[in-house]
């Protein structure tokens, strides 16, 4: 440590100053929300050539809801799949831009880590974390990763089963690092009783009322947000008596649409002509 300090004293000093400056930028980034990319780039988005089988099925319109994908635990590798299925309902929010640094011979190498939460406020949330050299790239990448990680959230009732489910089905807890987040069902009208960070995530999930309790170093936003996300993941993992009936298995979409999938796509034809 002493040697390093001696070797690039100039860099150290510079880094320190830069660190302070970056933190300022980070605060501004949080408030920026969806900023960064304006219009343009429409062509790329429209011409989606699916690479995976699932992508092809979604593009053809054979798969109409995310629930079909969840039912068969199919890995989602293309974010356009989520775009097509959840489309305009999906909102995103940048939770934090965190500058992280790596020490090199010539000073510090700063990169920006973006935490983005994505969700339609009706049972689907996604969390994306991406580190990149530029803020905008990080945000863009994080949004894509968030879309890929979209998860269904199970909601239930606190008491009487009147109206739509509004709270968590049972007491659940999620842990990431040292942070544990515990969610407890709350009666209607209680609202989301949580810190600023998990409140955002829960709003995106579509949970209206919940009591939360957290433990650990919640200052580390990364872990805090991942813990609440994990907690929400567990809502559908909890076996309640309504799941006691035996499952009736459906055919996997890959089996159902095997004829459609076996047809060669245009990409393959282009490859053939090139070679």
């Amino acid at each position: 440590m002493a040697e390093r300090g001696g070797g690039d004293r100039g860099g150290f000093g510079r880094g320190f100053g830069r660190g302070r400056g970056d933190r300022g930028r980070g605060d501004r980034g949080r408030g920026r929300g969806r900023g960064g990319r304006r219009g343009g780039r429409r062509d790329e988005e429209e011409k989606w050539v699916p690479v995976t089988k699932l992508g092809r099925l979604v593009k053809e319109g054979k798969i109409t809801s995310l629930e079909q994908i969840y039912l068969h635990s199919l890995p989602v590798k293309e974010h356009q799949i989520i775009d097509t299925l959840l489309g305009g309902r999906l909102k995103d929010e940048v939770m934090k831009i965190m500058p992280v640094q790596k020490q090199t011979r010539a000073g510090q190498r700063t990169r920006f880590k973006a935490f983005v939460v994505v969700g339609d406020t009706d049972g689907h949330v996604g969390l994306g974390v991406k580190c990149a050299k530029e803020v905008a790239t990080a945000i863009r990448g994080a949004i894509i990763l968030a879309k890929l990680s979209v998860i269904p959230v199970r909601r239930g009732y606190w008491g009487n089963k009147i109206g739509k489910p509004h709270t968590v089905p049972c007491k659940i807890t999620g842990k990431c690092g040292s942070v544990t987040v515990r969610m407890v069902p709350a009666p209607r009208g209680a609202g989301i009783v949580a810190a600023r960070v998990p409140k955002k995530v829960l709003q995106f999930a579509g949970i209206e009322d919940v009591f939360t309790s957290s433990r650990g170093s919640t200052k580390t936003l990364g872990n805090f947000v991942k813990a609440t996300f994990e907690c929400l993941m567990k809502t559908y993992g909890f076996l309640t008596p309504d799941f006691w009936t035996e499952t009736r298995f459906n055919k996997s979409p890959f089996q159902e649409y095997t004829d459609l999938l076996s047809k060669p796509t245009k990409a393959i034809l282009i490859e053939n002509t090139e070679s």
Binding site: T52, K53, H72, L74, F254, Q255, T258, D259, S262
Partner: protein, 313 residues
């Protein structure tokens, strides 16, 4: 010894005994214990072949249930299984991968060799552990030939068998292929399959060379070169250029067959790569050996060979 006519199942089991399919390893994985009949005095576990046959039937049923056979991937990293895998794929319509499994073939959608199979068939869970790991991530059911000491993690259907010997592997793939074709109805039940088991056995390059020697009398035309380091006539250089071009090789078989059996250090990968190329053509035995031979011979220039051949996988 049964003097009456043996049933299909009994004949198969006799063949498996001859191929030493029943000889397991000296260690036994706890999940394989149910398939072991007994442990011999010298430590070798004996596998219950009746159970092997049943598992083969089960695997065949699963294979037949896949509507599009191209969605099945048969794989072997080990040389002993590569020829069997290629022949199996040829007869059942599956997709073979012989040799190294590039990590990410089932998970990395940006790779050119990305594929999403519906079923995976392997020769050894230990050497083919990478495809097993990836299939676990991609919801791909896995069938594998498991020895008594093979790890069964993520293997959905394990067929207890000896996966170390070349006769054993060949025999098993032959049986599996025949079962699949019988269940599909391509071959009538009960009758013998005209394809020989030997076609599925691994051949050493020297063996392949000898085979070609017997079959190709065209040798004298090119002034056969007996040494590796000897001067090379121009024809051999052109075949080297032709190596990357698979389509050309079958056409070039007759002139090439004579020359190329001199340098016999073919990586078997190359030999079977040519078999795969020849697969679309109807495969009567002599041309198959002829095709295998040139690949075997021309790899005296190993650098040239090892470069193009892996890319065929």
């Amino acid at each position: 010894m049964a003097t009456r006519v043996l049933s299909q199942k009994e004949q198969d089991i006799q063949m498996m005994l001859a191929a030493a399919v029943h000889l397991g390893a000296r260690n036994c994985d706890f999940q394989m214990e149910r398939y072991v009949y007994k442990r011999r005095n010298d430590g070798v576990h004996i596998i219950n072949l009746g159970k092997t046959w049943e598992k083969l039937q089960l695997a065949a049923r699963v294979i037949v249930a896949i509507e599009n056979p191209q969605d099945i991937i048969v794989q072997s990293a080990r040389p002993y299984g590569q020829r069997a895998v290629l022949k199996f794929a040829q007869y059942t319509g599956a997709h073979p991968i012989a040799g190294r499994h590039t990590p990410g073939t089932f998970t990395n959608q940006l790779q050119t060799s990305f594929s999403e199979p519906r079923l995976l068939i392997l020769t050894d869970p230990r050497t083919d552990h990478q495809p097993i790991k990836e299939s676990a991530l991609g919801n791909i059911p896995t069938i594998s030939f498991c020895d008594t000491d093979s790890p069964m993690r993520y293997v959905d259907i394990g067929i207890p068998a000896n996966n170390k010997g070349k006769h054993s592997i060949g025999c098993l793939f032959w049986l599996l292929a025949r079962m699949v074709l019988q269940m599909r109805g391509t071959i009538p039940l009960g009758r013998k399959w005209e394809v020989m088991v030997d076609l599925f056995f691994y051949r050493d390059p020297e063996e392949a060379k000898e085979q070609a020697e017997e079959e190709a009398p065209v040798a004298p035309d090119f002034g056969a070169v007996p040494d590796y380091g000897a001067m090379v006539p121009t024809d051999q250089w052109t075949t080297e250029q032709w190596m990357p071009d698979a389509a050309a090789v079958p056409a070039a078989v007759p002139p090439v067959a004579g020359v190329e059996w001199t340098a016999g250090q073919a990586p078997v990968v190359a030999a079977d790569g040519w078999d795969a190329a020849a697969a679309p053509l109807p495969p009567p035995p002599p041309p198959v050996d002829g095709v295998a031979a040139p690949a075997g011979g021309s790899s005296g220039w190993e650098a040239a060979t090892s470069a193009p051949s892996p890319s065929w996988e």
